[in-house]
Amino acid sequence: MTENISESAPDLSINLGRIKLKNPVITCSGTFASGIEYNQFYNISNLGAVTTKSFSLNKRLGNSPPRLCETAGGMLNAIGLANEGIYYFINEQLPVLKNLQVSIILSIFGEDNNEFLRIAKEVNSIKDDIVAVEMNLSCPNVDKGGIAFCSMPDHVESLINSVREILDIPLIAKLSPNNDNFIETAAKARNGGAEAISLVNTVIGTAIDIDNFKPKLGNIFGGLSGPAIKPIALAKVMQLARENILPIIGMGGIFYWQDAVEFMIAGASAVGIGTLNFVEVDAGEKILEGISNYLLEKNINNLGEIIGKVFKKW
């Protein structure tokens, strides 16, 4: 083999159905705001895509503090989906992001089907400026007594279906690791027209202050993220990938480039960097570099060769 070949930059581009990204490194919703802050640390247009904080139709204040609590190898958050509302994104942030030439995955959520549909309608007007919409289905469905959308597979199918009727750009369904039936839900999401699955959202957890006997979070329960959940997330991704339903954006506890590679070998086509952004503000760039070097060293020319490779070795 000539030196030339082994040193040519590997092809990092990937497809998530109709979604084409220049590389597999994506940021996780809620851990990167809309990315603008991070552009002070590195050029965020180098990322495969930036997933925004989940937007609701109108501004939401979110949960009462405390909203954070550190745990062993992880953290609990109970932000309560605080956000400035979709109009703020469209009017204030999108112009800046367009200028930066960022590939944007817009995360949205609603309290009920109606809110999802109303947001979809607003987003339709900017659909050429974003690469996909990620539907955060781990949020509580007020119509159904607050149970997470993604725990009701049939409901997910019809919801995605109706969003698609309004909004013709690729849809990503983001699922929670807290439900047994995530594989069924993923299948229904595909039936409803989703292009890809994001897995996992945070794991339900809590912590208690033993001096005052109260939960450490204002909201009592919170979502666990970070390296602590990596083995759990990786197992879920592998279980879903085995079923070959839709391409997967794997996430949950990625802190080193090696973790990202593990997710891809387990079957994820792209990876989401979440909590790590808080600790290493230039993480996106570093993880990308790590993956690229790994491919070079292993003499692998495109990511397709490692995505889901665990199943060949099983």
Binding site: F32, A33, E37, S64, P65, R67, V281
Partner: protein
């Protein structure tokens, strides 16, 4: 208000990590960038474990205590509270510290305000020292009042006297300075401070007491707030506190990027 848009990830050599008392340490870090760009009221977010380690997972925020532009050195004053600060206390001269900064907004100096009363409780005195220094440099009239539980901060007085001439130190047990609480003293002598701008930092109870004292008195007061942080740069929405907005309404503001300084009279403690 200066936005923290100069923030960077930085590495700086530790030039000194000195014990000031039982759990109290002062650390000097070499950083031309911080010395050039940081302003009083801002903080840095420090990685408190060796590379490749995940415990503690999150960075820890510390107010900037001193800036010495001659030597490109900035200083933090810190108390050992848990594992992150324990780790810091074990670092030696010559080791490299990883931190993000400068973060948060600089304190806002209203033109025309000439008299400042700085009220610090416990480790809350740390960021006030840099502010005091800045105000005296601006020829303002600065009075520093500090309250502690006991004599832990005894050696810190040597730092203080290099910054301000007018100060009063209280301890709850009387072992250092006057016995009592600064808030009690202020309550009794509030008439003397009508023309002062208050800047305070310390435990919740102290801030609450000051808010009570200043209620309806039309005295400007700024509080430097603390809250658990994940990102420190305003993206996670985790470090919020409740702030009055309009009549009987409230909103949440981020300590890291909307603060850490807030109008004390607008903070809702509940």
């Amino acid at each position: 208000m200066v936005l923290g848009n100069l923030m960077k990830i930085l590495n700086g050599e530790i030039l000194l990590n000195k014990k000031y008392g039982e759990n109290l340490y002062k650390m000097e870090i070499f950083s031309p960038y911080i010395c050039k760009n940081a302003l009083p009221g801002q903080f840095v977010n420090i990685k408190c474990c060796y590379e490749g380690m995940l415990d503690p997972l999150l960075r820890r925020p510390f107010g900037i205590y001193e800036i010495d532009k001659r030597f490109n050195v900035f200083t933090i004053l810190y108390l050992i509270k848990g594992k992150g600060t324990l780790f810091l206390s074990k670092l030696k001269k010559g080791e490299i510290l990883n931190f993000i900064g400068p973060l948060g907004n600089a304190i806002k100096i209203v033109t025309g305000a000439e008299n400042y009363l700085l009220v610090g409780g416990g480790i809350g005195v740390a960021p006030l020292c840099l502010i005091a220094r800045y105000l005296t440099d601006l020829q303002k009239n600065v009075y520093f009042m500090a309250g502690f539980k006991d004599e832990l901060f005894f050696s810190w007085e040597n730092d203080l006297i290099k910054i301000v001439r007018n100060y009063r130190i209280f301890t709850e047990n009387g072992s250092f300075g006057e016995k009592g609480l600064p808030t009690n003293f202020i309550r009794e002598h509030i008439d003397q401070y009508k023309k002062f701008n208050f800047i305070c930092c310390g435990p919740r109870e102290m801030l609450k007491a000051l808010q009570d004292i200043l209620q309806g008195k039309n005295i400007a007061a700024i509080a430097l707030m603390e809250e658990m942080m994940a990102c420190g740069i305003g993206v996670c929405m985790g470090c919020v506190i409740k702030i009055k907005e309009g009549n009987n309404a409230f909103t949440y503001k981020r300590v890291c990027s909307d603060g850490p300084a807030f109008n004390l009279m607008e903070v809702i403690f509940d």
